[in-house]
Subunit: 75 residues, 2 copies
């Protein structure tokens, strides 16, 4: 896990919970496994551009919004 | 190539040329091959989150800024 994937996981989890979705519901919506969503939220994943967009669509935000504040500079 | 990767390629190329960088210079900066940069700019690539951030850093923007306007909805 590095800072970038850790922050992405935190961001994803926050947006998911704000959308009142469970990991399972989000996983079903975008066609991935619940385990995959859990791994990503725990910083253990490096999703591709197309997967990032799937997550964004499932959470009704743009890919750019999903990556807002997600960078590897420790802050 | 799909709409998303096509738009990402166009966005990357525009930011790179605005930064007055050649494909080779950007490739060297972020530790990938010139061929890879060329493929991505031509919509033939699906970069991971970490590679997206490398491109963003090389172009002195955030990953979120790099993905601004990049989505698969045709517009």
């Amino acid at each position: 896990m590095d800072e970038l994937t850790r922050k992405f996981g935190i961001r994803l989890k926050r947006l998911r919970t704000e959308s009142h979705l469970t990991q399972e519901q989000l996983a079903l919506m975008i066609g991935v496994s619940k385990k995959y969503v859990s791994n990503i939220e725990n910083g253990r994943g490096n999703p591709t551009l197309t997967t990032i967009e799937k997550f964004a669509r499932g959470l009704d935000v743009t890919a750019s919004e999903l990556l807002d504040g997600v960078d590897s500079k420790t802050s």
